[in-house]
C-alpha cells in the first residue's frame, strides 16, 4: 500500500508507503515509511494474536484525514491511495467517514490493482458536515474516485462520485433529509459468503419499504400534503459486478451516521476471523 498526498499545483510526492508480505507464514509489515503531513501507525497488536492480519492506521497532521477544512484560494485538498493486492491476499480499507466543513473542497482517489483471486473490502463514506453547527452539505466540492483493475490494466470497477454546489440545485436539495452516503465494496473468492449475506439482507430490508401500488395510483399525486408512510431512514441497494460476479457493491443513504455504523458493524462482522476484530465495533 502506498499513500500519496499533496496540494494541487505542487509536485505530487509520495508521503507514505507500506508493504505487507507473508514472512515465515505470517503477515508482516516489510516496509513502512511516512513523512509529514502523513503518518502511518502500525500497532503491535489489534485483536487476537491467532489472527494473521496487519492493521495500519493513517493520520494526517492538521486535524486528521477525515476533517477537511475551508479551502484557501480554491485549492483542493487531495488524497491519493494506490494499492496492489496479491494473490489470495486481503486488503480492508475501513475508515471513518469524511466530514467536509462549509466551503471545503476535497478530492480523493483510490486505485486498487488486484488478481482474480485477490480480496478487497472498501468502505468509502461521507457525512453532511458538522451537524452541531447546523452545517448540512455546505461544502463546495467533494469528489471520490475508486478504481479497481485486474491483470493487464483491465478495468473492473470505475466509480467517481462528484458532489458540487450548483446553481440549479444545491447538494442539500439533492440529498434531501439524508445526512450520510456510503459505499461498500466486497470483492474476492474468500468473501463470497459475506457478499451473499449482504445481498440477501439488503433485499429483505428494502423490500419492506416498497408498497404495492393500488388501483387509485393516480391519486397519490394529489394527496402529497396528507401524512402517510415516510421515506426509509436508511435506503440501500446492492449490485453484483465483474466477471462471474466476483464483486458486490452496496450504496447507502441514511439520515444518521449511527445507523450506518450499525449497518457496517453488522455486515462486516463476518470479517472478524480475517481481521482479528469486528470493524466499526
Amino acid at each position: 500500500m502506498s499513500g500519496k498526498g499533496g496540494e494541487r499545483g505542487e509536485r505530487k510526492m509520495e508521503t507514505g508507503i507500506a508493504a505487507v508480505e507473508k514472512v515465515g507464514g505470517r503477515s508482516t509489515v516489510t516496509r513502512c515509511f511516512s513523512k509529514y503531513p502523513l503518518k502511518l501507525i502500525v500497532p503491535n497488536k489489534v485483536g487476537s494474536s491467532k489472527t494473521d492480519a496487519v492493521w495500519i492506521y493513517t493520520l494526517s497532521y492538521g486535524g486528521g484525514i477525515v476533517s477537511v477544512y475551508k479551502s484557501v484560494d480554491s485549492k483542493c485538498s487531495e488524497q491519493v491511495l494506490e494499492a496492489r493486492i496479491g494473490r489470495n491476499a486481503l486488503l480492508a480499507v475501513i475508515p471513518d467517514p469524511v466530514t467536509c466543513f462549509s466551503t471545503a473542497r476535497y478530492s480523493q482517489k483510490q486505485v486498487f490493482r488486484v488478481f482474480s483471486d485477490s480480496n478487497l473490502v472498501i468502505v468509502d463514506w461521507i457525512t453532511s458536515g458538522r451537524h452541531e453547527s447546523g452545517e448540512k452539505w455546505e461544502f463546495e466540492l467533494y469528489r471520490s474516485t475508486n478504481q479497481i483493475f485486474l491483470e493487464e490494466d483491465q478495468p473492473l470497477f470505475l466509480d467517481s462520485v462528484l458532489l458540487e454546489q450548483a446553481s440549479t440545485c444545491s447538494i442539500a436539495e439533492r440529498m434531501q433529509e439524508y445526512h450520510v452516503i456510503a459505499m461498500v465494496i466486497i470483492l474476492g473468492p474468500m468473501l463470497k459468503h459475506v457478499q451473499n449475506q449482504v445481498q440477501d439482507e439488503v433485499k429483505k430490508m428494502m423490500s419492506r419499504h416498497f408498497r404495492v401500488p393500488t388501483p387509485t395510483a393516480g391519486h397519490y399525486m394529489r394527496s402529497e400534503s396528507q401524512s402517510g408512510p415516510t421515506r426509509p431512514a436508511l435506503v440501500a441497494s446492492c449490485s453484483a459486478f465483474g466477471p462471474q460476479a466476483i464483486g458486490v457493491v452496496v450504496r447507502i443513504a441514511a439520515v444518521t451516521t449511527e445507523s450506518v455504523y450499525m449497518f457496517l458493524r453488522h455486515h462486516l462482522a463476518t470479517l472478524e476471523p480475517f481481521l482479528g476484530v469486528i470493524p466499526y465495533g
Partner: protein
C-alpha cells in the same frame, strides 16, 4: 432588358442559390430525416421498458407530487450528463469499431449499478439491431454486430452505441450529445405518464418547461473525456438500484 442586366440578374440568382446551399444542402436535408427517425419514440428500441428508476422512486416515496417529479427528472438528466455524455461525445467523435469497443468495456466497469447496467446493455443492443437493419448504407453496423454478438466480449451499452450511430450518420458531436439528453428526458416523461403520475398533455407541458434546464445540463457536461465521467446524484443511483426489490413492477428498470 439589356444583356448586361440579364447577366447581372442571373448572377444574383446563382449567388442566392449558393447562399442557400451553404446553409442547408440536400445532404443536410436528408440527414434530418435520419435524425428525426433516430429520436422518434416509435423506433423499436425498447426504451419504453425503462423508467430510469422512476418506478422505484415512486414506490419508495421519493416522488409523490408534481414538484417531486420535475425534480427527479432534472436529477436524472444531471446524472446522465455527468456520467454518460462523455461516452456519447467520444463515440460520436471517433465512430470506429475499435474506439467503440474500448468505450463499451470502460462503461461496463463504470455502470456499477446492476439495474442501470443491464438496462443500458439491453437498450444498446436493441438500438444496434434496429440501426443495422435501417441504415444499410452503413455496412459497418451490421459487421460489428455480427462480430461481437456471439463472442460475448461486448455489452453493447447504450451511450457509446448511440454516439457511434450519430457519428456514422454524420451528426456533429454537439447534436449527438443534445440528442442523447433529449431521448433520456423523453423516456422518463413517457414513463411518468404510464405510471399514472401525469397525463399526456401535462407531460408535454412539463417536457417543454424543463427543456431549458436540459439544455443547461447539456452545455455543462458536454465535450468531456470519459476519464471525467462521474455520478452526481447518489440518491437517484441508490433508488434506481432498488428496482429489483419492487414487489410489482411495470418496468424493467
Amino acid at each position: 432588358m439589356s444583356e448586361q442586366t440579364q447577366n447581372c440578374l442571373m448572377d444574383c440568382d446563382m449567388e442566392e442559390m449558393s447562399a442557400d446551399n451553404v446553409k442547408t444542402s440536400p445532404a443536410d436535408h436528408l440527414q434530418q430525416w435520419s435524425q428525426w427517425q433516430l429520436l422518434d419514440s416509435i423506433l423499436p428500441t425498447g426504451g419504453f421498458a425503462h423508467s430510469s428508476g422512476l418506478e422505484a422512486a415512486v414506490q419508495a416515496r421519493f416522488v409523490v407530487g408534481p414538484e417531486d417529479l420535475k425534480f427527479y427528472i432534472i436529477q436524472v438528466l444531471e446524472n446522465t450528463g455527468s456520467l454518460l455524455l462523455p461516452y456519447v461525445y467520444c463515440a460520436s467523435k471517433f465512430p470506429d469499431v475499435e474506439s467503440w469497443f474500448k468505450l463499451d468495456r470502460l462503461l461496463e466497469a463504470t455502470l456499477t449499478n446492476e439495474v442501470s447496467r443491464k438496462a443500458s446493455a439491453s437498450q444498446g443492443s436493441a438500438l444496434l439491431r434496429v440501426a443495422a437493419s435501417i441504415y444499410v448504407e452503413i455496412p459497418s453496423l451490421k459487421q460489428m454486430r455480427d462480430t461481437y454478438l456471439g463472442s460475448g466480449a461486448a455489452s453493447f451499452h447504450h451511450a457509446p452505441i448511440f454516439g457511434l450511430i450519430c457519428g456514422l450518420l454524420g451528426f456533429d458531436s454537439s447534436t449527438s450529445q443534445r440528442a442523447y439528453m433529449f431521448i433520456t428526458m423523453r423516456d422518463v416523461v413517457s414513463a411518468a405518464t404510464r405510471l399514472n403520475l401525469i397525463g399526456p398533455l401535462g407531460a408535454s407541458v412539463l417536457q417543454h418547461q424543463i427543456a431549458h434546464v436540459a439544455e443547461q445540463m447539456t452545455k455543462k457536461w458536454m465535450d468531456r473525456p470519459v476519464e471525467e465521467a462521474s455520478q452526481t446524484s447518489p440518491l437517484v443511483d441508490i433508488v434506481q438500484g432498488c428496482h429489483g426489490y419492487l414487489f410489482s413492477r411495470l418496468f424493467c428498470s
